[in-house]
């Protein structure tokens, strides 16, 4: 597709570099911030030259926030742990329920199947706060408020529709004849699902899982309303950095770095499968 002369090619490269800098700059700046004290961050004019310090990370890991107003106890590591538990468990549950459901929706057109699938998607449309108020009351009554189980359940509103709709598309892209051929070879439908449909939709399942994980990880409102301090994920816990003596930019930056690390690691890991999925072009042919 490239019919460009060297000059336009050079200009294209320059434009791409600018775009990359534009998008990467905030992340780079935050990483730099996380190794600085509040004073060096706030000095005017800002500078990229500073003596790096691990103070911020130390504070987060030990849970002792030292500020001009004194020592403050924070639960960052606990919050991080909660985030991991909530996200991993909700995505796992969603995959367990959503993947077979997606397969059913993709392969069996029954009366009302489209309506059910659409209803599940519509959970994503409802403003969360509207759902949350009555839900909070019910959860109080049922004893589900401030429990992992309750939160994981509510997180299904985020993860399940996502997984269902993305994975369904991947199942639909597999030629039914490939599955038919496996059944005619003498295998049951379940074994066909496990040995043919699942591996072939693998990249799609990985992508959907990753996306669901990111959405779950970044969720704020559900946990804000339904969880108290000991079950809070990092998104809610980060509020603690707004202290009486000001905003602790250094710690926030370090907190952000620590909390995007798991998602980033997961994305890098899953990328391999996503690329593999693209090269397995035979699925669609």
């Amino acid at each position: 597709m490239d019919h460009a002369s060297p000059m336009t090619r050079w200009l294209k490269g320059l434009a791409l570099t600018l775009v990359v800098i534009f998008f990467m700059f905030p992340i780079l700046w935050i990483v730099l911030m996380s190794f600085q004290t509040n004073e060096t961050i706030l000095r005017m004019p800002p500078s990229v030259v500073f003596t790096p310090t691990l103070e911020n990370y130390q504070a987060l890991i030990t849970g002792k926030l030292v500020s001009s107003a004194g020592v403050l106890e924070i639960q960052f590591m606990r919050n991080l742990m909660n985030s991991v538990i909530l996200s991993v468990c909700s995505v796992a549950l969603s995959l367990l329920l959503g993947v077979p459901a997606a397969y059913a929706f993709a392969r069996h057109k029954f009366r009302g199947s489209e309506d059910i699938a659409f209803t599940l998607l519509s959970f994503r449309f409802a403003p969360p706060l509207l759902v949350l108020l009555p839900l909070a009351l019910y959860f109080q009554d049922l004893g589900l408020a401030n429990t992992y189980i309750g939160l994981i359940w509510v997180y299904q509103l985020i993860c399940l529709p996502l997984i269902l709709w993305i994975v369904r598309g991947y199942f639909e892209d597999i030629s039914p004849d490939v599955e038919h051929a496996y059944r005619l070879a003498g295998h049951s439908w379940f074994s066909t699902f496990r040995r043919i449909a699942l591996p072939l939709a693998g990249p799609g399942i990985a992508a959907a899982g990753l996306l669901a994980f990111i959405f779950a990880w970044n969720n704020f409102v559900f946990a804000l309303v339904l969880a108290s301090a000991d079950k809070q994920p990092v998104t809610v816990g980060a509020l603690a950095f707004v202290t009486a003596s000001g905003i602790q930019y250094g710690q926030i930056a370090a907190g952000i770095v620590l909390s995007i690390a798991p998602t980033l690691a997961l994305a890098l890991y899953a990328q391999r499968y996503l690329v593999e999925g693209l090269s397995l072009g035979a699925v669609k042919g």
């Binding site: 597709m1 490239d2 019919h3 460009a4």
Partner: protein
């Protein structure tokens, strides 16, 4: 002096040029297509014919060599500026437009008068038998209809070059036979230049003035259908062109007095008197020793006094019978135009006239002789 409509000058397409093992999908292909000529790129899947066409259209970069359209080098010219019309294998109609709008699209963009557009759309729709579906949308018509609409969209344009990628692959056999004639007539009448890609030799034979046979990215032979059949340049073209395919046998050539003896294995040997081959050809064949012998199925003569063979299958197709026989350790196919009454297990004798023999180099596969004359 007018330049050829299309000229390929040692054109190559290399995928993964920086990888450890680059793939040469198209390897130094040179050919030139005269204005008003119909040329077919023929080969099996993966032979490089589609990559070649895509380089001409501008959807692939040219790795090496030059593509010239109407005398102008277009290696760095964007597809839209090459003045080329293309019908795609995967139809690629614009979904929000009706078939009529799809076909008229290029003419409308060229600001032709409305009556002119309507007239030409009607004409092409009649030609391709798509009048009843002109006002339907691509999603609601069959694959064959989409393909014809895509063909119509390309043929209606006035361009230096019309590129047709497997233009009739999705059509019913009867319709295909009908449209071949009509399309050829249409293209010739308007003096258009067309390059089509196909894997179907019947289509290439029926439509093209000349056929470029490709295999492994290399142009094997570029010649008229008759010449491809009578004088194949190498073993590949010889066995690729022709239905049923040419019979081939490995043979060991030896002089037997004045005669040329071709030993086929399993004790079968064919003797040809000196008159059957030009002296120089006979000399070359003897010098090579190991050669490959090719005989077209319809040229195999049944002769009780000939070399022994045993019938393995006799398939009657209504107007001809295809007979497979085990012969000299291989399979020999012969065509009879009447219904042959042979049954599996019957013993027959076969004979090949020198005039029907194709001899290829046993190692390189290059043709040495056709009908006793030098290739």
């Amino acid at each position: 002096m007018s330049a050829p409509a299309l000229e390929l000058d040692r054109v190559s397409k290399i995928y993964g040029a920086k990888a450890a093992r680059p793939v040469r999908a198209v390897d130094a292909v040179s050919m030139s297509v005269a204005k008003g000529e119909i040329v077919a790129l023929l080969g099996s899947s993966g032979c490089g014919k589609t990559s070649t066409l895509r380089m001409v259209a501008g959807f692939e970069t040219v790795s090496e060599g030059a593509v010239r359209i109407a005398g102008r080098e277009v290696n760095r010219v964007a597809p839209a500026k090459r003045n080329v019309a293309m019908a795609f294998e995967g139809y690629s109609l614009y979904p929000p437009l009706t078939v009529r709008e799809n076909i008229a699209f290029a003419l409308k963009s060229a600001r032709l008068p409305r009556e002119e557009v309507a007239r030409r759309v009607a004409e092409i729709a009649h030609l391709l038998e798509i009048e009843p579906i002109l006002d339907r949308y691509p999603a609601s018509i069959s694959g064959g209809q989409q393909q014809r609409a895509s063909l119509g969209r390309a043929l209606i344009r006035e361009a230096d070059l019309h590129l047709l990628d497997e233009p009739m692959g999705q059509l019913e056999p009867a319709l295909r036979a009908l449209l071949r004639g009509r399309i050829k007539h249409f293209v010739k009448e308007r003096g258009l230049t067309a390059v089509l890609v196909t894997h179907d030799q019947t289509e290439a034979n029926a439509l093209a003035d000349r056929i470029a046979v490709m295999e492994g990215g290399v142009l094997q032979q570029f010649a008229s259908p008759a010449e491809l059949k009578d004088r194949p340049a190498n073993l590949f073209t010889g066995t690729f062109i022709g239905e049923p395919p040419m019979n081939v046998f490995q043979a060991q050539a030896r002089a037997e007095g004045d005669a040329l003896r071709l030993g086929l294995g399993e004790g079968v040997a064919l003797d040809y008197p000196a008159a059957g081959f030009e002296p120089a050809v006979r000399e070359t064949i003897l010098k090579r020793g190991r050669v490959t012998l090719g005989v077209r199925p319809h040229a195999v003569r049944l002769d009780p006094a000939g070399a022994p063979a045993e019938v393995a299958a006799n398939q009657w197709l209504g107007d001809q019978s295809h007979i497979a026989a085990s012969f000299a350790g291989g399979t020999l196919v012969t065509v009879e135009h009447d219904r042959a009454r042979l049954r599996p297990g019957d013993r027959i004798g076969v004979r090949f006239e020198p005039a029907d023999l194709h001899v290829f180099d046993g190692e390189t596969g290059a043709a040495l002789s056709h009908g006793g004359r030098a290739a």
